[in-house]
Amino acid sequence: MDFLKARLTLGWALRTPLNIALRPMNTETKNLQSSRIRAVISTATDRLAGSVFILPTVLALLFLSIFPLIASLYVSLARFDIVRGGYKLTFVGLNNYKKLFVGSEGDHFLGKFAPGTPLTWLVFGAVVMALAVFLARYLLSARVSIGGLIGRVLLTLGLGVLAWMFVHTLWGGGRLGTASVTLVYVFVGIFFQYILGLMLAMLTVQNLPGRRFFRVVFLLPMMITPVGVAYMFRMLTDTSKGPFTPIWQGLGLINFSWVNNAWGARTAILIGDIWQWTPFMFIVLVAALESQPIEPIEAATVDGANSWQIFRHITWPAILPVSMTLILIRLIEAFKIVDLPNVMTNGGPGTATQSLTYHAYINWRALNIGASAAVAYMLLFLVTFFSMILVNLIRQRAVENL
């Protein structure tokens, strides 16, 4: 109420400046003037108060999120040296990034590029065609905008470069670098986690005996610390001393080891990761499935729709927004995988199972902090790139639903 009064007074004061100036000054006028000044100050403090009260929080947030980002950017452009009495950061420009792309760390980060084979060009050509079609369809659509075009060109270029990297390192004598290995963990892992999580969720929303018990059981892997999961899977995949040794012996595979082969080791890590994170998908999807309205399903059932038709046309659209958000959260988290490769395989054989976080960690533990920050920044770019794609898809979906 006071606030309203003050604003009215101020409005009146602003509307009648000449009247105030022309009138002779008497006591009443003086009082009026003083009252108006107070009102102006009051309004100003009202306006400022909100900003000032939230300022400490804003500063704290900026300090905790923006400052480390800027500081680590500087560190990625510097070399760390120990000097008498402490340490020294020497600015080296883009040297740490140069090492990652064309220097001594190139093979480690991007992988070993093999000469192109017919298969390489076939797959890359197909990807380029698909990206060209995607871009052309947008350009021919009625909703072209400058921002949208820039975004899609960047997306096309980014995916094109990643496709180039994959087709040259995936076969024909090539070797995946830590960037590609991370993408394999993220996309293969999330794909299986989502499918399995959805299947289990579908199962436990049915009216089956013991479903409550199994809901709890299915959640257990998520409760275990990742290092614990890693040690457990290391033990399980040990063919000579692990609990499955008799089985391997029986199958004549006693001299087989998962970790002697790059894809065997990556598969072992993926199995551990899928085992641990499927429950996260499962529990959220159970909630999504149970919160969908029952009426459309009942109506479809009365109309004679079968289970697949109900899922495809009613359930799937209903859980899609939740699914997209779920995948986005897992995507951001999955890029940071480090515990499983560190404990299960020590990043081996060779560097076959090293993720980007593990790559950064190796540099960090040698106090090669500049190189470590450069790897971490490349990870940030990748996470941001794929998160932006997903966020845009979610936004697009939301607009279509309006």
Partner: protein, 525 residues
């Protein structure tokens, strides 16, 4: 009402503004400036000679109320004796000892982060003495020379000369050895005798013996066993094994020649036929080892050897003491130890080719074989944080001294679970302690003889002790070796990549400075 409200608002704004101004204006706690000279180290007080007092059980507790935090790698080995003897030290001196452990791979950065950031959460470090070259010039660890001089109970002269030297830098002592490290080859006496084979003298012999015994049942359990067990997991100990194999191919003219870099120009001695041959030998040992050896650390190899599953292995002194463990060992009195195998061909540094051993090329050869035993890692050693207060420095030094004194050390080195190996002259001469620990006379002679032969070798190779040695060895060599073992790199590619990456580190760190350090560690001017 209006005035009161306004006054309150103004007051709030002033308070918040004041707080913000105060926060901005308050002097922040400064980390040590990069170029700031370290505080002058005070001359050690009488308290610094505490170890003498500690073992003599003084009437008064000299370090009552002092708590020291010692950082080392996660046990059970190495940390175990510290944890076990900590309470005894407390009873003697009054100082409370906290042992903090971190994974071995994180120890280096943990020490440096703690010291360079000014956190100084640790008063002492039990680490690799090769790291002294990073810590001592930066003034991060205390010069222990004055402490050692006053400490008669430490019996510094009894420490083997190599370990005295390896724990010093620029003529000053910076760490106290609790462990002596030397690689040796261990073999199964019974298995070799049964097969009519001799213990390997060269690395070619090693491969031949491993091949001959691979797949044989070595422990009588009906399961085929392995010819060789040398761990190959990335991030573990591979970078040390490879240098034990490479050393006799590269260095032949005495310890001062060096085996890592060319002392003319600091170029790495890796892109040549000698190092390539070592790579091939190391990789071939995997053919006669367990299937998952590429993911095994030294603990796995030791476990396999003492359970009787391996004919040969390479290790520090630990196998000798683990093999007499009545509870776990199946190879008691069946283990022989000898100086690391050598080579009949050595590197011609000018051409990069291997040439046959003769009187000129291999002046220290034994029966035509050039041995170059590798003192990898150099043994665990205790250093004191230079930035903590004097009382804590004294107590930390006293604790390391207490651990290293013969009364404690002579017992600890005979027990396998400690991870400590002999480093005192008296530990080699007094064999009774070993016999009391469970060695037979023959086993004690054999085990200690192997270490002594390595330590006495005029062609011994010390571990790399130059700044950034962690990056040269434990990052770049480790990664490239892992990729080579996995088959991702050919021998030539691995040698070339290692050469390039080491050159990058040298150039970044200043070639002249690195060369100066390197020559200094070899005793060259």
């Amino acid at each position: 009402m209006n005035s009161k409200n306004m006054l309150l608002k103004l007051l709030s704004l002033m308070i918040i503004g004041g707080v913000l101004l105060a926060a901005c204006g308050a002097p922040a706690t400064q980390p040590p400036a990069a170029t700031e000279a370290p505080a002058t180290t005070e001359a050690p007080t009488a308290a610094a000679t505490a170890p003498s007092a500690a073992t003599e059980a003084p009437a008064g507790k000299m370090y009552d109320g002092v708590t020291i935090n010692i950082l080392t790698f996660v046990g059970p080995q190495v940390a175990e004796p510290l944890q076990r003897r900590g309470p005894d030290f407390t009873a003697l001196t009054g100082a409370t000892v906290n042992i903090i452990t971190v994974p071995n791979s994180e120890l280096y950065q943990k020490v440096l982060t703690d010291a360079t950031s000014g956190t100084n959460a640790y008063d002492g470090y039990l680490f690799a003495p090769a790291w002294i070259v990073d810590f001592a010039p930066a003034g991060l660890i205390e010069d222990l020379t004055p402490y050692v001089k006053k400490d008669k109970d430490l019996q510094w002269d009894d420490v083997a000369p190599f370990f005295r030297d390896f724990n010093s830098y620029d003529g000053k002592i910076y760490s106290i050895p609790l462990d002596g490290d030397m690689h040796m080859v261990y073999y199964r006496i019974d298995s070799l005798q049964e097969a009519g084979l001799e213990p390997p003298k060269t690395w070619d012999d090693y491969l031949a013996v491993a091949k001959a015994l691979n797949g044989k049942d070595l422990n009588g359990d009906g399961t085929p066993d392995y010819g060789s067990c040398i761990s190959k997991a990335p991030g573990q100990q591979s970078y040390w094994w490879i240098w034990s194999i490479a050393a006799p191919y590269i260095q032949s003219k005495g310890s001062s020649q060096g085996a890592f870099f060319n002392t003319k120009d600091m170029t790495p001695l890796v892109n040549n036929d000698a190092f390539k041959r070592a790579l091939e030998v190391y990789k071939e040992t995997g053919l006669y080892g367990p299937p998952d050896e590429t993911n095994q650390g030294v603990g796995d190899s030791r476990g396999l050897f003492i359970s009787g599953r391996c004919a040969l292995t390479m290790d520090w002194g630990d196998i000798g003491t683990l093999a007499i463990d009545k509870q776990n060992s199946k190879v008691i009195d069946k283990v022989g130890a000898e100086i690391n195998p050598g080579s009949k061909e050595v590197l011609d540094w000018d051409t990069g080719k291997l040439v046959p051993c003769d009187g000129t090329t291999c002046p220290y050869a034994i029966d035509g074989v050039n041995h170059a035993p590798f003192a990898s890692f150099g043994g665990w050693a205790g250093a004191v944080n230079a930035a903590v207060d004097q009382k804590k420095k004294d107590a930390a030094y006293a604790f390391f001294s207490y651990m290293a004194q013969p009364a404690q050390s002579n017992a600890d080195v005979t027990v396998g679970k400690t991870g400590y190996n002999p480093f005192r002259i008296s530990q080699f001469t007094n064999k009774q302690a070993w016999i009391d620990a469970g060695f037979s006379q023959t086993a004690a002679d054999n085990y200690l003889g192997g270490i002594e032969a390595s330590l006495d070798s005029p062609n011994m190779v010390a571990d790399l002790r130059i700044p950034k040695n962690h990056e040269y060895i434990q990052v770049e060599l480790d990664r490239i070796l892992a990729e080579y073992i996995a088959g991702d790199l050919t021998t030539d590619e691995a040698a070339q990549q290692l050469y390039d990456s080491w050159e990058t580190i040298t150039n970044d760190a200043s070639r002249d400075e690195q060369l100066k350090f390197y020559k200094g560690t070899l005793g060259q001017k």
